[in-house]
């Protein structure tokens, strides 16, 4: 195995702009830090955004986003395309981190104090990843109309769970419904959103 054939072989690996996020994530899972940088640029805005929405504190959200993105790197070898899209897989990791953080908010508040009064962008300089504003606005409109199409119980259950990190037990308590009802509304609410969004791509 001479070097020339090794070069030929690697050049066949998709890594240039044409590569999809899934391909980049797969390459990152094989140890490619350059592929991971491109993954970062694709998803950092949504990762940070969902963290901020759930934990509500910019400094905590930054910590959560950083932990989530490093976790994406660590777990990338386990990404399998049959478990959903690469972006969905990454944002699941981010959302789960955010929820775990908000559930131990006490501990995080103390950590936050230790960091001092840092605010978003305090390091100066330009934001280092560009967010596709049009795409985010389109997704936001989709979410608004999707949530509007749910029953109020489905919508409230999903909002408490997804945006506030409530457990299904807490959702049931907050909404004053039996636990089985809370579980069922979370599931059928998701199914309704899935079917709606799949029908209007």
């Amino acid at each position: 195995m001479d070097e020339a054939s090794a070069e030929r072989h690697l050049s066949a690996v998709p890594s240039e702009p044409a590569a999809t996020l899934g391909e980049l994530l797969t390459l990152a899972g094989r140890g490619s830090s350059t592929a991971f940088e491109k993954v970062y640029d694709h998803v950092a805005g949504a990762v940070y955004g969902v963290a901020l929405r759930v934990v509500r504190d910019p400094e905590l959200a930054r910590d959560v986003a950083q932990e989530a993105l490093v976790e994406v790197w660590r777990l990338a070898p386990r990404y399998r395309s049959d478990a959903g899209s690469a972006k969905a897989w990454i944002l699941t990791i981010a959302h789960r981190r955010a929820v775990d953080a908000v559930r131990s908010e006490q501990a995080l508040r103390e950590r936050s104090r230790a960091h001092g009064a840092a605010v978003v962008g305090e390091a100066g300089g330009e934001p280092d990843a560009v967010v596709d504003v049009q795409y985010a606005a389109w997704a936001a409109a989709r979410v608004r109309s999707g949530l509007a199409g749910l029953t109020s119980l489905q919508r409230e259950a999903l909002e408490l769970a997804y945006y506030k990190g409530y457990t299904h037990v807490e959702v049931a308590e907050a909404l004053g419904v039996p636990l089985g009802t809370a579980k069922a509304r979370l599931r059928d609410g998701l199914i309704k959103l899935r079917d709606l969004w799949e029908a209007t791509p």
């Binding site: 950092a44 070898p77 959903g84 990843a129 985010a136 998701l190 899935r194």
Partner: protein, 241 residues
């Protein structure tokens, strides 16, 4: 579906929006490993979370990118989990070498992380090793076989004239001893290959370059440190080609 199965199944929505506590999540994931229907439904509902999160996208704080990239330089990757609920790959199935390759990269990073080389060297050595391993494991004729040394595989490619031996959870050899790869030849002789010692987690990877003509097996023996020109020690594992 049993009643308890149905109860676990009902947690699917709560699972997708992370509304389970840690114990319930672990329980559900154990169920998921055995329930193809649930895996399919979870995968189909993940897209909803993707849209909900994408709607929140905002520019991340300055400096986050540099911090994340610095941290991944020091973070070893996980070893790929075996595919859940799916039978072990048959030899010669094309995706098996790819799984093995991913494992190899992860193991290599772990190994390099342990010796503490700087990021530049790590990258260069990763790429260099990936060249070799990738060439072997993605060759059209690559085939992968299990090796009874921890959780290990042998990947052989005749066209690349090479064999990759790698895995994890290998027990440590006796004091003063190392493992060594030998190719078993048709005529009863053996050809010495590289000697290696597993890392702290029993992980290891080695590549041997040799014509595969007349090779009938790959053996791993315990040999004195540095390896031996011919097999002297106890045979630890053997696969027939």
């Amino acid at each position: 579906m049993s009643e308890s199965n149905a109860q676990v199944h009902a947690l699917i929505g709560a699972y997708v929006v992370d509304a389970l506590d840690a114990d319930e999540r672990a329980e559900f994931e154990a169920h998921l490993a055995e329930c193809a229907a649930c895996r399919e439904e979870v995968a189909s509902l993940r897209g909803v979370g993707e849209t909900l999160a994408s709607a929140e996208a905002v520019p991340p704080p300055a400096g986050l990118r540099a911090d994340v990239l610095a941290q991944i330089g020091q973070t070893p990757q996980a070893v790929p989990a075996p595919a859940s609920g799916i039978a072990q790959p048959e030899p010669r199935k094309r995706w098996a070498p790819r799984l093995v390759l991913a494992a190899a990269s992860a193991l290599l990073l772990v190994a390099l992380g342990v010796v503490g080389v700087n990021a530049y060297q790590t990258h260069r050595e990763t790429v260099a090793m990936e060249h070799d391993v990738m060439m072997v494991t993605t060759a059209p004729d690559a085939h992968s076989m299990e090796l009874a040394l921890g959780t290990s595989h042998v990947v052989v490619s005749e066209s690349m004239s090479a064999v990759v031996v790698m895995g994890d959870e290998a027990p440590m050899p006796a004091d003063g001893m190392e493992y060594q790869v030998f190719l078993m030849m048709e005529d009863g002789s053996s050809m010495p290959g590289p000697a290696f010692t597993p890392g702290a987690d029993g992980d290891f990877m080695t590549v041997m370059s040799a014509p595969m003509d007349g090779v009938v097996g790959v053996a791993v023996t315990e040999e004195p440190m540095g390896g031996s020109p011919s097999m002297t020690g106890e045979m630890v594992a053997l696969v027939h080609l």
